[in-house]
Symmetry: C2
Subunit: 369 residues, 2 copies
Amino acid sequence: MSTTLELLLVGFGHVAQRFVTLLDEKREALALEHGLATSVVGVVTRGHGRMWAVDGLDAASIRERLASGKNAAPPGFAGSTTDFIRAAAAGTSATGEARLIVVETTTLNIDNGQPAIDHIRTGLSSGAHVVTANKGPVAFAYDTLDDSACRAERRFLFEGAVMDGVPVFNLVRETLPAIEVVGFRGVLNSTTNYILTAMEGGQSFESALSEMQAAGIAEADPTLDVEGWDAAAKTAALANVLLQAALTPHSVEREGITPALGPRAREARRAGRRLKLVATAGRDGGQVAAHVALEELTEDDVLAGLEGQQNGIVLFTDVLGEIAVIQRGAGLTQTAYALLSDVIAVGRTLIDRSDRQERPRARRDRTPR
Amino acid sequence: MSTTLELLLVGFGHVAQRFVTLLDEKREALALEHGLATSVVGVVTRGHGRMWAVDGLDAASIRERLASGKNAAPPGFAGSTTDFIRAAAAGTSATGEARLIVVETTTLNIDNGQPAIDHIRTGLSSGAHVVTANKGPVAFAYDTLDDSACRAERRFLFEGAVMDGVPVFNLVRETLPAIEVVGFRGVLNSTTNYILTAMEGGQSFESALSEMQAAGIAEADPTLDVEGWDAAAKTAALANVLLQAALTPHSVEREGITPALGPRAREARRAGRRLKLVATAGRDGGQVAAHVALEELTEDDVLAGLEGQQNGIVLFTDVLGEIAVIQRGAGLTQTAYALLSDVIAVGRTLIDRSDRQERPRARRDRTPR
């Protein structure tokens, strides 16, 4: 007997598309290990239409409907994305049973985090849980969204906002209970780390950036990466959640990278150091201070070893000392998995509430002793 | 309103002693963040007596009673440690309410994992949850202990078996749902890594080992560390849990370190490599192959950067690629925290069963925006 989670996708770019195929690939693991099934009941995009089907949509039918331009909406839909979310939540029995999840994957708006914040707030107030891979809402409005989730008795999860699917937020929440995180340092932006690594070896800024754009890691307009805004947004998100700060990306001191850094990167490397764009945050009296800055790291620094697209974070804790988590593979699949892990976390909460012991247990065949 | 977990300590060495003081230090965090309280109701040791007090024991009263040699046991106690566990479980109403936890901290027996395995089995069959920092039971008998826990509808947790309190087992279980771990590599023994690092710099094996003994990291008889047994036991434990293997420390190919490695360690370092004792495991057809061996790592290997007592593990996964977790501080407090995190995990299960939403929420003051 499995619990079916109904999913409403807000945004349907590369990450959401990969998320839908990953749902298929992990169908059996969800059923066997977690007693969960999923059904995509709606998709709403800004420019590519919308669809709604209570009996569920698969990857092929979503693509087909988007391509053919046939729209469908839940009863009561009046035109906007937030209307769609409200009408969809009203249109399914999953809402009252806390089985509806809004999967938010719109892109970062560095001015104010909108419209993602409204999407999330509407989802929660309509009775849906919300998971997102967009760092904007957590960077600009974690406090109020967390309150909204609490009042609505729904979950708001965002593992994909930082380091893709490698657990940071869920790591602290689920596996470091009663620990106080007092600060962190991290290399959080793949594009700038790739460019800095490439420049150490004599490659030009422009050609390294082109490679990242071709790989779909950097945006066509790479300003957010190169000027440090992406790292600043991630820093604000981490500080808001882990250090109970109330920062925005604009209150994080910020530095970016430029083509002129090539010689400095090469010289540092020759001297046994690595030039890195490092995000740092910590409590400073009652306040939280945070900045993104170029640093020349010595080789014994765990962040110095991050090559190319790798990301990493060092958490400073009261009881465990320093813990580092390193992401050595990055890409769409990893970000899509972040959403999946959050969806499963929501599903586990539901099953915990009914009876954790009845959860089916997976057992693989074991190696003979 | 908080749930009180009753704790029965089996073994009362340095780790258990630090665990009891850590319970005091984290009392407020347990109550505010998790709605939990703890009460140590019994202590049983091999050579230093035993005590039992239904109204709870604090650190000072435990030390005082052990020093004065005054023993006390629950009704029905007939002499052995397993008797004590059974009688204690029968003597408290916490058992039926799943609020009794056996905290097992006896030391590694590399022959067969006993008597810790019997302690754990007895605890589970008597209605207690069990948490342990001893790697032996998981290395020798994970499969049957996991089955016992499942049948008893109790939890068996062992985060402290590897990398102290830095989450590895709980990381995979709680934050990487639906992920398949297909292998791992790690530097898992602090003493040998400390000695290898010291020998790179020209220090002698013997003096580095003495430092580790003085710090309480290496045992008075350091054979288990130096000959690679500790690393082999950790490798078996990890393989049994993460790769569904059924290894024992004796089925892990094993290499240790000797004073004769000094010149090789220095030479490797001069050539830009690091000599490390590396644990490796992976699926090889239907089998799991595992070994502990000396390797010369190149500088771009994340394990190469582990200095002194640091430990680290790289998990190979199907969807996320490689994830590395690095422990940069190691010691008694970290191991004691592993037990605490497992105790809290048990407590959360209980609260999940009643109603997660009623759990009190901690809120720290936030930084003004």
